[in-house]
């Protein structure tokens, strides 16, 4: 019967792979190997676009389009002053979006981040102004508060098993109530204009060397780390990036970094807020992609059951991710309070929550979990803040701003869904 057939088919195929493996131990004939040189980049790029592996391309294209439109309408848009203001204003929402990226990687959502940022701002203002604590103490206390709030959300989601959507929706209302309670009857607490929290967004490194120096350090560190990594891979006999590739990437980074540095130096200099934001992005990106903790977060976004069987403590990772989201929401809240130099009843309400989630998603983080980077938050928040500032320059009112931001978010989510479908047909999701 079929028994005979199976054994005979098994035997030759048992011989073949070994012979093939001896001849070409690593490369499978079916693998599309990239051509060397510049033609290779183009070919690889086209193939990835077709497979729905869009990465950051849509948002970068979108950002260029938005900037082109606004600068053609109003010549003041692409000035150093406006761009510098955008890059300071975006940090508050951007910090919150970084926390959202962590939550989205799990395939979950955190609706409370806006309210948490408001609580943090109010709490720090009460400590610093009403109780006369040092602003350092107020700042750290606010961030710790955010982390504790995140742990509470994480506990109810991960340990009790309540849906994250519902838990954080409850949080949205609860923490907003707490913020109003903390602020009391006055409703607004003005911060010290010259204090630490105010300086978060008002301080600029006016020395031109600061911006150029940071750009130079970024380029050199990027090149050296890529180069050393490539050399280690080469030494270990695994495929490594060719030098031409590294040089090309470094060159692109150098152009962007120095263009930004020149732009900042034409206005007040390098903003402190942006330096902190970039540091946070580097740190979180490193955590997500280079540590076993980050690997666990991605694994949970891919398959909870697989993670559990691999011995990952699912509950602990989930709680920690919500703690991170809470911590970054608080940090974002401090930057937002710093921008207006006050904690008021409107903090953390309105479109803040939606903007933070939109920033993460627009940047390319998937709502379905397991795909995304914290750098996406930077690109996404640049898009959103650019739209806000561009419309404000034209004197277009908030209602129209809301509608346009909403349309951009919808477009992005559609792109996410379509790329996911394309990826599935191309066997990549």
């Amino acid at each position: 019967m079929s028994t005979e057939k199976t054994t005979t088919t098994v035997a030759p195929s048992a011989e073949n792979p070994e012979a093939a493996a001896a001849a070409a131990p690593v490369v499978d004939p079916r693998l599309l190997v990239r051509e060397q040189g510049f033609a290779g980049y183009i070919g690889e790029f086209k193939r990835r676009m077709r497979a729905g592996d869009l990465g950051s391309v849509p948002v970068i294209v979108g950002l260029i389009v938005i900037w082109a439109i606004f600068s053609s309408i109003n010549s003041r848009f692409l000035t150093a002053e406006n761009l510098s203001n955008i890059s300071v204003a975006m940090v508050g929402t951007g910090m919150i979006a970084v926390g959202i990226v962590f939550v989205l990687l799990l395939g979950e959502i955190d609706l409370s981040v806006g309210s948490v940022s408001g609580v943090a701002g109010a709490f720090s203002a009460v400590l610093a102004v009403n109780h006369g604590q040092s602003e350092w103490v107020a700042l750290i206390a606010a961030i710790v508060t955010g982390i504790v709030i995140g742990i509470i959300h994480g506990f109810f989601f991960a340990r009790i098993g309540a849906p994250a959507f519902a838990v954080t929706l409850a949080g949205l209302l609860f923490w907003q109530g707490l913020m109003l309670q903390i602020l009391g009857d006055d409703g607004t607490i003005n911060l010290d204009n010259d204090g630490l929290i105010a300086h978060l967004t008002s301080y600029y490194f006016s020395d031109v060397a600061a911006a150029y120096g940071l750009a130079l350090v970024a380029v050199v560190v990027f090149f050296l780390s890529s180069f050393l990594d490539s050399r280690r891979r080469h030494a270990a006999g695994v495929p490594s990036r060719p030098l031409s590739d590294i040089v090309l990437r470094t060159a692109v980074l150098a152009v962007v970094a120095f263009a930004a540095a020149i732009m900042f130096n034409q206005y007040k200099g390098l903003p402190l807020a942006l330096v902190i934001f970039l540091a946070v992005l580097v740190l979180t990106d490193f955590t997500l992609r280079r540590t076993s903790y980050g690997r666990k977060v991605f694994a949970l976004g891919g398959s909870v059951e697989a993670s559990r069987r691999a011995g990952i403590n699912v509950i602990r990772v989930r709680i920690s991710v919500y703690a991170i989201a809470g911590g970054f929401a608080a940090l974002g809240g401090l930057f937002l309070a710093s921008k207006i130099q006050a904690a008021n009843q409107g903090a953390g309400t309105g479109d803040l929550l939606m903007n933070a989630i939109a920033a993460a998603v627009i940047g390319g983080t998937s709502l379905f979990g397991g795909r995304g980077r914290t750098w996406n938050a930077l690109l996404g928040v640049m898009v959103i803040t650019s739209i806000q500032y561009g419309l404000a320059l034209q004197g277009i009112a908030t209602p129209i701003q809301y509608m346009i931001t909403g349309a951009v978010l919808l477009a992005t989510v559609c792109i996410d869904s379509i790329t996911r479908r394309t990826q599935r047909t191309a066997g990549r999701a």
Binding site: T6, T9, A236, G237, T291, S303, A306, G311, G370
Partner: protein, 262 residues
């Protein structure tokens, strides 16, 4: 044929398991030696999965004993089984689609260098492991989602090998695979045997069983229904043991005649 050790790696002695009113396993005996592939077959509900789970530590046994390399051991939780050197590859593979092959192979036991993931070493070891098992996949740096069902299965099996187990349990490894992919997985089973591992293969497919197994243990309604040597047993005999077709009017009459003649 590879040398088979005298002491079985794993031996079940009179194992029983109850779930409420259901007696899932009754006095099951089973031996698996190093360098031997034992196929565990049986109809739906025969207790195959339950037996696997008792060995893997998911369900502790109620009665009987489990012997590991001649010593009596307690397997109360999955960790105990892993600690002994039992690796189980379940039917639903438990791989993360969004993570690449290297990441999946080392999931939960990542190699680190100064607190940071040592991607280079993990990639090197992954290639080494896949090469020694002659597993061919296009690249170790593509997400699992890009692989075919058979390739995923081989990755899942390769992953179980990283813990250097002595016994590998494969739950329906060829279910839902195509012809060529099934052949790949069966090749891999043979390579595990050549490396001196004990393999327990749960399968519904008689062709697969005949192709790679040395012994076939049949379960029927939670009891042993014979252990057969694959080479000297026909497929019909095994199937009748599975379905219980041996227990019919003809066989009973034959048995009575046999007794009468004595």
């Amino acid at each position: 044929m590879v040398h088979v050790s005298a002491t079985p790696v794993l031996a079940l002695r009179g194992v029983s398991k109850r779930f409420g009113a259901v007696q899932a396993l009754t006095d099951v005996e089973l031996e698996v030696h190093a360098g031997e592939v034992v196929a565990l077959v049986g109809d739906n509900g025969a207790g195959k999965s339950t037996l696997v789970k008792t060995i893997a530590g998911v369900h502790p046994i109620d009665d009987g004993s489990i012997e590991w390399e001649g010593r009596s051991v307690q397997i109360d939780k999955p960790h105990d089984a892993q600690h002994l050197g039992i690796a189980t590859v379940y039917q639903d593979l438990a791989l993360c689609d969004n993570i690449d092959v290297v990441g999946n192979l080392f999931l939960g036991r990542e190699l680190k260098r100064r607190g940071v993931l040592n991607e280079v070493e993990m990639e090197r070891r992954s290639r080494e492991l896949l090469n020694t098992l002659s597993i061919r996949i296009p690249s170790v740096r593509i997400p699992i989602a890009s692989l075919s069902g058979g390739q995923r299965q081989t990755v899942a099996i390769a992953r179980s090998m990283l813990g250097e187990p002595k016994l590998v349990i494969l739950d329906e490894p060829t279910a839902a695979l195509g012809v060529e992919q099934t052949a790949q997985v069966l090749d891999l089973v043979e390579r595990l045997r050549e490396r001196g591992l004990a393999v327990m293969l749960i399968s519904h497919n008689m062709a697969d069983v005949k192709a790679v197994a040395d012994k076939v243990a049949v379960l029927r309604l939670g009891r042993n229904n014979g252990v057969f040597d694959v080479k000297s047993t026909s497929q019909e005999e095994i199937i009748s043991a599975i379905t219980g077709a041996t227990d019919n009017a003809v066989t009973r009459r034959a048995a009575r005649h046999g007794e009468a003649q004595k």
